[in-house]
Symmetry: C2
Subunit: 323 residues, 2 copies
């Protein structure tokens, strides 16, 4: 890693090291195609299905790289995070495979299904009050007590290098890609994609896709500095978090454009993917297709990798079904 004054920026060598490290613990996910969506968009779309990934999302790549990169002494103390989403599941899974504890700080008000899922992967939950101050205080206590290594969901060079293995696989599976598009929340997947493609396949353009209702990355991109929104609301609940320094570095340097879609467009695209491709994926994963459908001119005639980031969705509360 290059040692910058303010942060450790991962390099392509870190992606290669991550790949060697995590291969035994993750799936090489398939790439699906659909003549229906090719006809609809005028592009050739290649869907990289991380919804089929271990623990149900690409996040297991970065989490596994962090967990298996620890020295034995550090690993013995475990890992910790305060995500309650896919990162918590993935970190719990990876820690379980290494046989070390994973501590997850979650608000006591989090849905029981999310708590059950984390515990299902072996995570140890410590509950906090639903406020940032309580979360930070409880997390500090857990760390002080256990010495566990904090693994941030995205603003961590180990995590970004792990996510970079996804587009490395994709370019090996599909020749001659013109572009890759992935959803953007905190920017971990997009940063890993930038890291890999800017070195390994710099001719491939990188697009990020974001909900209109949580378009802080898009506005950051246009403004030239990080803009963080306070608690945006979107059905694409994996994409509510803001960019941080490390991910901003990659986004600002390597992304061609950030496109947005409305809630309705996201839900329609999600349902259409379920209906036509017969795959279960999260609302966040539908944002790229939603933006492709409304930006036909950008992608028509191109070979486009579309990263389906995850498949962990509440089957009892699908967004197109009114309760």
């Amino acid at each position: 890693m290059k040692d910058a004054p303010e942060m450790l920026i991962p390099t392509y060598d870190d992606v290669l090291a991550a790949e060697a490290r995590i291969t035994p613990y993750i799936h090489r996910t398939p790439v699906l195609t659909s003549s229906y969506f090719n006809d609809l968009t005028g592009a050739e779309l290649f869907f990289k299905c991380e919804n089929f990934q271990k623990a149900g999302a690409f996040k297991v790549r970065g989490a596994s790289n962090a967990v298996f990169g620890l020295s034995d002494a550090m690993a013995a103390k475990g890992v910790a995070t305060h995500s309650s989403g896919n990162h918590a599941l993935s970190l719990s899974y990876a820690a379980g495979r290494r046989g070390i504890p994973c501590h997850v700080v979650m608000p006591r008000t989090a849905p029981q299904a999310k708590k059950d899922a984390v515990r299902g992967y072996g995570g140890i939950i410590t509950e906090c009050e639903p406020s940032t101050s309580s979360r930070e205080a409880v997390f500090a206590e857990v760390q002080a007590k256990t010495g566990a290594e904090f693994v941030h969901p995205y603003n961590d060079p180990r995590v970004i290098a792990g996510q970079g293995t996804c587009s490395k696989e994709l370019t090996a599976q599909v020749e001659g890609l013109d572009a890759v598009i992935a959803p953007i929340g905190g920017g971990g997947m997009i940063s890993g994609t930038c890291l890999t493609l800017s070195t390994f396949a710099p001719q491939v353009k990188i697009y990020a896709a974001e909900p209109e209702q949580a378009d802080d990355a898009c506005r950051s991109f246009k403004a030239g500095h990080i803009i963080a929104d306070d608690a945006p609301n979107t059905v694409a609940d994996g994409l509510k978090v803001p960019l941080k320094e490390l991910t901003w570095h990659f986004v600002s340097n390597h992304v061609t454009d950030i496109l947005t879609a409305s809630e309705e467009e996201i839900i329609d695209a999600m349902k259409l993917i379920w209906k036509r491709m017969k795959i279960v994926m999260e609302p966040s994963s539908a944002v790229p297709l939603a933006t492709i459908l409304k930006n036909r001119d950008v992608f028509a005639g191109k070979r486009v990798g579309v990263i389906i980031t995850g498949g962990n969705v509440d089957l009892d509360a699908l967004p197109w079904i009114k309760a």
Copy 2:
């Protein structure tokens, strides 16, 4: 085909001819595995994903074999059927690929979504009243007017030979299978499976899976003759139809056992497959897993092919969500 006095029984050569004929028009569907379901059942399960098939179900194999096996003179008059489910979609798709008309007789009361789906694949709908007598009268009219070739959804040697290509693919994709299990309604898929495996891999046991609430095939199997129920009701709506002579021939000669599952077991298995494997499939396709889960001793320690027959499901009316 062997010319029996009462019926034409397809042979394995017909499967090979079907394979050569339909390969350009269908997908070689993937086989998925799940460490979760292996742990849960104690078996090694290999899910043959016909939900990813063209037109969303295995039925396109038999329909394509029938359509592309017609002489040019016969084909010019088109094909016809009175199914309103996957067979109608598949026949419409295959006819479209050959550039010939496909006539579908459907009750005027059929759900608009089903009519739209058939029309979406190019089928030409003639509506009848929702009664057997009206259906038969209208169908006879359509045939008389058009001269279209009737393709039965399952009691047709061309259709059975086409369905037989599925287990041929499966045995090429997975070595050393001990058993294959598929849902049974009219018995087209099971018959094709029997036809192929009894010749090509006779050591593989064949199990059929059926809803308790539509267990006419199971009772036929035990009684030694066809028992047809009048309008059984089950969430597995592809499995309501009875066995006919041709499919009874295969079921009675080559099936090891027919296992059943309750509505609740089917719905639970369906939801669990969606949740853990991230695939969209029909209730009918969940019946095999439901029976494996309740007959652990039969399958534990075995390598079992599980045919996921289709993925055409109404996403607005999922059976685990109460309206």
